[in-house]
Amino acid sequence: MFSKKIVMIVGVIVLIAVNLMALSVTGRRYHTHGLGQIAISLITPFQKTTTRSISFMRNVWNHYFCLVAAKQENDKLKEALSRAIEKNNRFNETEIFNLRLRKLLNFQKNMVEQTLVAEVIGKDPSPWFKTIIIDKGKSDGVERGLSVLVPEGIAGQVIDASPHSSKVLLIIDQISAIDALVQGTRARGIVKGGSNGQCFFMYALRKHDIRVGDTIISSGLDTVFPKGLRIGNVSKVIKQNFGIFQEVMVTPCVDFEKLEEVLVVLNAKSISDVNDK
């Protein structure tokens, strides 16, 4: 009744439609189930071994073959250390002063989270998505929605946890969003990932005075990231003559190319808890 060509065209159209429907159902999930969990459990041990071998080789190279630069670096570091010791004394003094003030104001401590050190064992194979895989999973207490930090600031958020590994969405990914503040002016907005390793500070009102170099910190209102953690510095501000918001570009404090170890904040509220509420 129908020619082979027509049947084929109809078949392809049906296949595309089914594919799109399946994608719209499964694509909204950024966490894996069943077969995906098996696949990730199979891949991560090899990733761990390869990453450790690379780190070992890099360490050997850095420690034994680059000794020429080490002497000069040592002198510089000694100088920096003496400056840091002096600075540390001042910070200790400030900390004691701060604690006294907190007590006076009956403030609750908000930075006593329990953290877990995790090693980065893999990065996203695609340049379109910015995620990493860490070597700690459900068996270590890691769950979906926990915040991931490094000493420089916020790195990202756990979006999927397997028994022995987890997937972390970095703040530079396009679907990442953090409720944030400008440290100086307390202007509020949302930091969203850009497509070239930068972030955007969105929904900041035009009336706020935001300048290049200002530090952006987490507001803590998203209940995922603790308050006051550094996100990045303002690198560009565009204030147009119309509209109620200004365009602010943020350079993250964290160098995501050199991410090797991260801290997972264990007792922060998870996404599922927030969703349930």
Binding site: L23, T26, I121, P127
Partner: protein
């Protein structure tokens, strides 16, 4: 055994891409080697062998990647179908065709993955850097893709020869025992 070989190779490629390649900033915008493997499978292997491998590797990539789940499954499925359709019109031994095939594969992958992201996350904005990344991927693909396909083919042929040799040796060892019995 052929399935095992293909799946093992693709898993190696995934591990290589997520651990070794990501250590070098130069390869930040390198194209997806697994996608190229699927194209190679489409050009040199039949549907019975290619589709299961494409689906398994798509699933593995979806698990490892941070993109919407199903994006890589879709990409690899259509890449395989596309490559199969292509060999109906061109000869596989036509090496001049390879740079165009790999370019088309890179473009298709970018369009499907970004299209999926745009479809599922309407708020996502794409900047000019997307074009920049795709352009770099295409340049990498044109210059290295044909050689990598040749390398895949060479590795498979070597493995095939080795496997056949092993079978011959094994059957020779088995036959005297059977004769004695």
């Amino acid at each position: 055994m052929t399935y095992c070989f293909h799946i093992f190779t693709c898993l190696c490629l995934i591990i290589f891409q997520t651990t070794v390649l990501s250590c070098f900033p130069l390869f930040n915008t390198f194209y997806d080697l697994s996608a190229l493997y699927i194209v190679y499978m489409g050009l040199f292997f039949n549907v019975r062998e290619g589709i299961p491998v494409a689906l398994i590797i798509g699933l593995a990539m979806d698990s490892v990647s941070g993109g919407p789940f199903g994006g890589y499954l879709t990409t690899y499925f259509w890449l395989f179908i596309g490559a199969r359709q292509l060999i109906k019109f061109f000869r596989v031994s036509n090496y001049i065709l390879f740079p165009f095939v790999v370019t088309a594969a890179v473009l298709t992958e970018a369009v499907i993955l970004l299209g999926t992201l745009a479809m599922l996350e309407p708020g996502v904005q794409f900047s000019l850097s997307v074009i920049n990344i795709v352009a770099k991927q295409i340049v990498w693909a044109i210059f290295t893709g044909p050689f990598i396909i040749q390398f895949y083919n060479f590795t498979y042929n070597m493995w095939n020869k080795l496997f056949n040799k092993l079978i011959v040796i094994f059957s020779r060892e088995q036959s005297p025992q059977i004769d004695r019995q």
